[in-house]
């Protein structure tokens, strides 16, 4: 429909392995992780007591004087702001021009043509006051809440700003205010697929002509008591409390669940025309986006990976890539598939099935690895952070490994780049990547990015 091309001109992340694009990348190539016992709260008696956490984060390290107005925000909001400002700055929109308080603005972008599409999660519950209110209202005999007592406690204890900051659209409100965005906005919550979907729809908004520049990505932290509780009850997380650093084992036959992570990833998307006009540094081109729903079960993934395959196919179709084809040297046209690869029994198996469906005979020669083995699962932020790993792969020509893959699962028998990174510079580098994200509840999203070739 539209022949507008969309490129990525900026990227920023806050991850458990750090916040510098290249340093985090180097750590990933070394197979490092920062997965340790939970520090945000005392989780010592929890069935899973470890997580992949962001260390030593201070908003003022990233925003300086501008941090103060945002200190009321949730942790997810702060990660988002830091990553967004990194992306903004790296895109060459310049340092803050306005004084603290006013929005950032840039001579290089019209605020009405600048939008934000995030897949950010909810803020953190004010658990202390929430529980105080619930305890005050609880009647032990009826085993029900007495809402007259509950209301009296809640209106005394609950704090307006803390309640408001939990709302899922507060993150985008802070980010949009900081960057002075006045164009199209949206925030989506499709669980683990959210930020890939946000980037994909932002790309489509630019293609439609609704904006010239979009900040897109996601941010999330569920490393709090009820967040961990929810996934413990679903038995979705690894319980390898005695060996957290190697707990996340995508595609390994000993895998026992994902590892909860937190952080944010943001990219600047721009129409090629706009990027060229302002002489921006083009990191890569968004070549395609595919989205589908499993429509299968709320707890299970489609066993044959049908939804996953549909999302990948659509992204490839839009990119004009035939997945069954190889180049003159017999190399598949997709150089890396960044797996959703959570490390749960079900995901890795069905995702592998999905990749086989899409690539057919070429599947075994398509590198298909999971950086969650090192980063953990950043939930709603995962997709955007992992998309940035694709940008790094294109930039460096190296494919990151699946760490902790010692005992390959016969059901996951593709090229998972086990334990060691793969340098593809001799083979011509990394030109085309797919990045997969699938959500609890069956929403599947895949983005295809490719080296910008003019």
């Amino acid at each position: 429909m539209s022949d507008t091309r969309v490129v990525i001109t900026g990227a920023g992340w806050i991850t458990p392995l750090g916040d510098d694009l290249d340093k985090v990348w180097q750590r990933m190539l070394r197979g490092e992780s920062n997965i340790r016992p939970v520090e945000h709260f005392d989780a010592s008696t929890f069935a899973t007591n470890f997580a992949s956490q962001v260390s030593d984060f201070k908003l003022s390290d990233h925003l300086g004087d501008r941090a103060e107005p945002h200190e009321c925000g949730s942790l997810a909001t702060k990660y988002a702001l830091a990553a967004a400002v990194k992306a903004w700055t790296s895109a060459g929109f310049g340092p803050a021009q306005a004084q603290a308080g006013g929005p950032r603005s840039s001579d290089h972008v019209d605020p009405n043509r600048f939008g934000v599409y995030l897949g950010s999660g909810e803020g953190r519950m004010d658990l202390g006051n929430f529980i105080r209110s619930n305890y005050a209202g609880w009647n032990d005999e009826t085993r029900l809440i007495d809402f007259q007592k509950w209301e009296a406690a809640a209106s005394e204890f609950l704090v307006a700003s803390r309640e408001l900051e939990q709302e899922p659209a507060m993150c985008i409100a802070h980010v949009a205010a900081e960057l002075g965005c006045r164009g199209p906005v949206s925030n989506c919550m499709t669980a683990c697929a959210a930020s890939t979907q946000a980037v994909g729809e932002a790309y489509e908004l630019i293609k439609r002509g609704d904006a010239d520049v979009m900040l897109a990505g996601g941010s999330h932290s569920m490393i709090h008591p009820l967040g961990m509780t929810g996934f413990i009850r679903l038995t979705a997380m690894s319980t390898r409390n005695d060996e957290p650093a190697t707990a996340c084992r995508p595609f390994d036959s000993t895998r026992d669940g994902f590892v909860m992570g937190e952080g944010a990833g943001m990219v600047i998307l721009e129409s090629l025309e706009h990027a060229k006009k302002r002489g921006a540094n083009i990191i890569a081109e968004v070549a395609g986006f595919g989205s589908s729903a499993d429509a299968y079960r709320i707890t299970d993934i489609h066993p044959e990976g049908a939804g996953a395959a549909a999302a990948m196919r659509r992204a490839l179709e839009q990119a004009g890539i035939d997945p069954s084809q190889t180049d003159a040297n017999g190399r598949p046209l997709v150089h890396w598939v960044n797996a959703h690869g959570t490390g749960t029994k079900e995901n890795d198996k069905t995702e592998t099935a999905g990749v086989k469906k899409v690539f057919g005979d070429a599947a075994p020669s398509v590198p298909f690895s999971s950086v969650k083995s090192m980063l953990g699962h950043l939930i709603q932020a995962a997709g955007a952070v992992e998309l940035i790993t694709c940008l790094q792969a294109i930039k460096t020509g190296v494919i990151p490994p699946t760490a902790n893959l010692k005992n390959p699962d016969p059901d996951c028998d593709l090229d998972h780049v086990p334990n060691e990174p793969r340098d593809c510079t001799d083979a011509g580098g990394v030109d085309v990547c797919l990045s997969n994200s699938f959500g609890f509840g069956g929403q599947n999203n895949t983005i295809c990015v490719r080296r910008f070739a003019g």
Partner: protein, 453 residues
């Protein structure tokens, strides 16, 4: 030219009715659904009444709207999800579309891969009784909550699927499973703007050929303890006694004396269908979606943030975000502001928001604003947050199809710049109707609907 989208089915769910016909009749009759809350004891809440979705005198239940084999699953649905499931089922039926709901072997109207689903959702509140019954098992000797005990044994007292009840994407998730929607599906969470943003996303997806038809809209339940406590804290609800016999009189959009709305639940889910495909199957179309637009406002936010100055000016004279979003939608529709025949605005009944909303509408429409009927729904259905915009769009589509305006309830004297005082339902020539909402976090979305030939 890009494909065009029409609304071929409406599932409206609110305190004035379940289904668009019942809803429309009630709106035209000037009925309000605001009344005493039955879901839990609100007698001591500062706003003690609300707008609940009922059927036969009881809270409406999804059990009556799902295939038999799916009834068990209603146990893991939050109220928001139940209402979405009801609305979706009504929308498909109203459009005459056969989906997987009719059975695995049913011949569906559209291939499953071309059916999308975009349902805006709110921040789903955990059911207080359910969660607290587990939390109280983790008290230490002093009666305080103990994380240690919670981790040891408390967690086990929650049902295994507890988390899945409260993920916002569960509204769309259940709808996609029931109806077999395997196309793109999204859950937009921008409070009051969610419903219209979802409609916009469905339109873009149909335009680019990724779907032929989408379940599209927004649903939220705010008649729950946490939702009410939270929104009361941030100044969204009016003080209202449990025994006030005419509670709707307290909800007075654009009136100087306004102090808030009341909590509502529900919203709307529509079938948005590619126009040619709809025509081909002989479907009736309520209206066509002529334009979509969105923008970020710096003014919509209520100033509860300690450093409110970072948001621009809450309660300022003109919400520029609303001006931008309407401008984008008009441009997308290829029309000018002069062509709008009626407006479904936010009508929050919150003084600061109303003021900047009227300021924005005046900026766009000038003096003519006083002649454009506003369809203000909050006195009738309460504030449905993520459901509000989609419900507004549903009403606008029906109004266009009927060429009629619903009645307007108003017990005060609204801003003279607007045509929003009490009015009977009347016939009206409606070529273009604008629906626009601004969220508490500043996202604004606008949709222009038009008559189909």
């Amino acid at each position: 030219m890009r494909p065009r989208c029409v609304i071929t089915g409406i599932g409206a769910v609110s305190a004035v009715g379940v289904g668009i016909d019942e809803t429309w009749a009630a709106l035209c009759a000037g009925t309000s659904g605001i009344g005493p809350i039955t879901a839990f004891d609100t007698s001591t809440f500062s706003c003690a009444q609300g707008a609940e979705v009922t059927e036969g005198g009881k809270l409406a239940s999804a059990r009556n709207y799902v295939p038999k084999h799916y009834r068990k699953a209603t146990k893991v649905m939050a109220r928001d999800t139940e209402l979405a499931v009801i609305a979706a089922s009504l929308a498909a039926k109203d459009a005459g579309i056969t989906t997987r709901e009719a059975g695995e072997d049913a011949e569906t109207t559209h291939p499953s891969g071309k059916v999308g689903c975009h349902i805006g959702a709110g921040f789903i509140a955990a059911e207080t009784d359910e969660l607290t019954s587990a939390l109280v098992t983790a008290k230490d000797d002093a009666g305080e909550f103990s994380l240690e005990k919670w981790g040891e044994s408390g967690i086990g007292n929650l049902q295994p699927l507890w988390l899945l009840k409260y993920l916002p994407n569960m509204l769309a998730c259940h709808v996609t499973i029931i109806h077999g929607c395997e196309g793109p599906s999204n859950t937009i969470t921008c409070a009051e703007a969610s419903g219209l943003l979802s409609i916009g996303e469905s339109v873009r997806i149909i335009e680019r050929g990724d779907a032929t038809v989408c379940f599209s809209g927004g649903i939220e339940n705010k008649v729950n303890p946490m939702g009410m406590a939270r929104m009361t804290k941030v100044g969204r609800f009016v003080e209202l006694d449990a025994d006030d016999p005419e509670p709707w009189r307290q909800v007075r959009p654009y009136d100087d004396s306004t102090t808030g709305a009341v909590p509502g639940e529900g919203g709307g889910i529509m079938m948005i269908e590619e126009k040619e495909a709809a025509k081909e199957r002989g479907a009736r179309a309520y209206a066509e979606i002529a334009g979509i637009g969105s923008a970020q406002s710096q003014a919509g936010l209520i100033g509860v943030c300690e450093h409110a100055d970072c948001w621009g000016e809450p309660g300022c004279e003109v919400d520029e975000g609303i001006v931008s979003a309407i401008g984008a939608a008009l441009r997308d529709a290829g029309i000018s502001a002069d062509q709008i025949d009626a407006i479904v605005p936010g009508a929050f009944g919150v003084a600061s928001l109303d003021k900047s909303e009227v300021g924005a509408l005046s900026t766009v429409f000038g003096d003519r604003l006083a002649e454009i009927p506003l369809i203000t729904l909050t006195p009738q259905v309460g504030q449905m947050f993520s459901g509000a915009g989609a419900f507004g769009a549903a009403v606008a589509a029906k109004a266009i199809a009927e060429q009629r305006l619903p009645a307007r309830l108003h017990a005060g004297r609204p801003d003279e710049r607007t045509l929003s005082g009490a009015a009977e339902s009347i016939d009206a020539e409606l070529q273009y109707v604008l629906v626009c909402t601004c969220s508490l976090s500043g996202q604004v979305s606008a949709v222009v609907l038009t008559r189909t030939e």
